[in-house]
Amino acid sequence: MLPNGFTQKRFETVLAAFRAIVGDDWVFSSAEDLHTYRDFYSPYWGEESERRTSAAVAPASVEEVQRIVKIANEHRLPLFPFSGGKNLGYGGSAPNLSGCVALDLKRMNRILEIDEKRQFVLVEPGVTYFDLYRHIQEKGLKLWIDCPAPGWGSLVGNALDRGTGYTVSNMRDHFGAHCGMEVVLPNGDLVRTGMGARDGSGSWQDYRYGVGPYVDGLFSQGNYGVVTKMGFWLYPQPDGALCGSVIAPHYHDIIALTQILTRLENLGVINGTPFFTSPVIGTPPGMPKNSQLQQLLAKGGATPAEFDALAQGRPYWKLRLPFIGPHQVVEAQWEYAKEQFASIPGVKFEDVARYSFPLSAEQTTGLSMFKDEWPAYFGIPSLEIFMVGARTPFNPHGSHGIAWLAPIMPRTGETVIKAHQVLVRAMLEHGVFQMENAPMPLCYTPRSFTMMLPFLISEDTAQNKRTRETMSRLIDVAAEQGWLEYRAHTIFQDQIMSQYNFNNNALRRFHETLKEAIDPNGIIAPGRYAIWPKTMRGEKNR
């Protein structure tokens, strides 16, 4: 594969220039090497429309990135920068536009500074959550990281994609927990944001804004530059944690549960990640299917009596609440939370567990997402999530990959009920309702719900086509309700961005205006989140 408009000879000329910068070993162009840059969870796997790279180049320093970008600009060669490429479910290391050269930043993997007293770290893009966690453990630092469920991704990459984690509320929004970045612009210029804009300011990772417009957001889910350093705030190792569960009997209790939960989170009483499950209607990793429930939800609403009949005595909701901090404080927080939730008739409180940190090696090894004790709840990276889709006697077909839809919804129980009705009906219409898809409100951020909808990807191109069509339809169905994705696989980014339609898609037009000013040749990740340079807008969906 060649970049659009390139002859083999011209492409080889550019690759030779890249080799002169990074060395022969760090430019990849063989089919075997490029195989590793494919999106292994691609909904287009093996089809002509699968997004593929034409080559890859892996710099080891900021200076090398600058030189590569300048050459790409001279030759109008599109690059697709990525940090770790583990963004599985959202496109991995594959570009929006086939033919891009992957700008692989994994070699830039230094932890540049870590400060235990001020609780921050400054890293390069290739540093993974495992790298940072292991570094902290080896140095014996009393610090926590916040990591996503699969811990092999890059801090920088995940934050720039606005990924989330599972510890305390002010750390879980990974972009929100960053402080300061360094960016190579498309013309090769180097910019530092916030207090880093002043040489030797000493507070680059302490205060994020500096003065003037705050530009960091342009580089998240964007294509205006290559981020080469990022600072992140870390969490001081807490004394302890308490986890308790609120059990509510009725389906419509979700309204009161949500109202109380949201108030307690915004008060700062609950600071860990709340987690809803339902013994009746299922939750990832899944409870048994219930076709009767599907019918109830799909018909557009059922009475409380009908829901209760379905439950057969089982409670509808279990809300796990983690409190993280000093022992005396978390005990008081739990007591206060119980007082508030006790206003729901029939509510019970169960499964109280207490922790002291650091956990012992034995305790750490014993943590498991299958026991309601995800390692990620305690800032410990793992890969246990990859066991969820495995082929088991209960899930005989297993999965070859997953693509996600993740609409954001208002934090109300009424919205959850409506989401069940609307999304389940749509999924049933397309024949894809399954236990993992039972929409369950997730509380990654304290002021909204995220409905994570996983769709299994197979090796069967016909099945994948149906899955793509279903996902596309669900994007539209959700958008009609005002529920828009916060993040998306590359193949859906154009469709999703078009849903942000206020004033004739003014936001996208603004993005495009910026693109034309900052990157007129469109060399950085063309098409990322629907930001296409003017010259390439006809190449959408290549």
């Binding site: 070993d25 760090w26 990849f28 089919a31 075997e32 090497d33 195989h35 590793t36 840059y37 494919r38 292994f40 796997w45 890859a56 892996a58 770790g84 692989d104 994994k106 070699r107 993997n109 290739g126 993974t128 495992f130 790298d131 292991r134 811990g151 092999w152 090894t365 498991s368 299958f370 390692p375 990276p381 793992s382 890969l383 246990e384 990859f386 066991m387 969820v388 889709g389 495995a390 082929r391 088991t392 006697p393 005989p396 077909h397 297993g398 999965s399 070859h400 990959g401 197979s458 090796e459 069967d460």
Partner: protein
């Protein structure tokens, strides 16, 4: 970092493979016939039998309990860096994660899907004789798969494209739920055995 390890994964520093025969309650055979490392998923009885057979052939045995990362950083990264072949029996996620960690310098020399009753599909980068296929279809398949997988780690193999996703059980109405596999570094596949 080696160039080929790099492009597939960010490798951590490993501590080397350890013989954990006690993990599955088996004793290694006194005569070492393979120096491969064997990984088995503890929750499956078939995997225990696979591990016991592998240990008897001299493989270093590692039990897997749910977090591949721990296994990788503490044991497998060092084994792979040292050119030690890795064989395994477990679910798809175990294989996918190990393969991704290994990077592009590995080759499958054996890969099969199994149902509790035996072989459902095999993809082997060497001719697998009828005798072996028949053996994998018997109730003793875990023992046979250990023998066959470990045997393949000692064969030369040079021309296999790395495939990272599970092979579909095409045309099989009841696909197996366990995978067995043997991964050998390309360098090793050429010179080993």
């Amino acid at each position: 970092m080696d160039r080929r390890q790099f492009i597939g994964a960010s490798l951590g520093v490993g501590v080397g493979a350890a013989l954990l025969a006690s993990a599955c309650g088996v004793q290694a055979a006194p005569a070492l016939r393979t120096h491969a490392t064997l990984v088995y998923e503890r929750q499956f009885p078939e995997a225990h039998r696979f591990a016991e057979s592998g240990a008897a052939m001299g493989a270093a045995v590692l039990a897997f309990d749910g977090d591949v990362a721990q296994l990788w950083y503490e044991h497998l990264s060092g084994a792979v860096a040292g050119g030690v072949p890795i064989v395994g029996l477990g679910t798809q996620g175990l294989r996918f994660c190990i393969q991704t960690f290994c990077g592009a310098d590995v080759r499958f020399v054996f890969h099969a899907h199994h149902a509790p009753q035996g072989l459902r599909q095999a993809r082997v980068y060497r001719d697998l004789g009828r005798r072996d296929i028949d053996a994998l279809s018997t109730l003793q398949w875990p023992e046979h798969v250990a023998r066959i997988a470990l045997r393949h780690t000692t064969l030369r193999n040079t021309a296999v494209t790395v495939e990272r996703r599970a092979f579909a059980a095409v045309g099989d109405a009841e696909p197996g739920y366990l995978e067995s596999w043997a991964l050998v570094s390309r360098r090793n596949a050429i010179t080993y055995g």
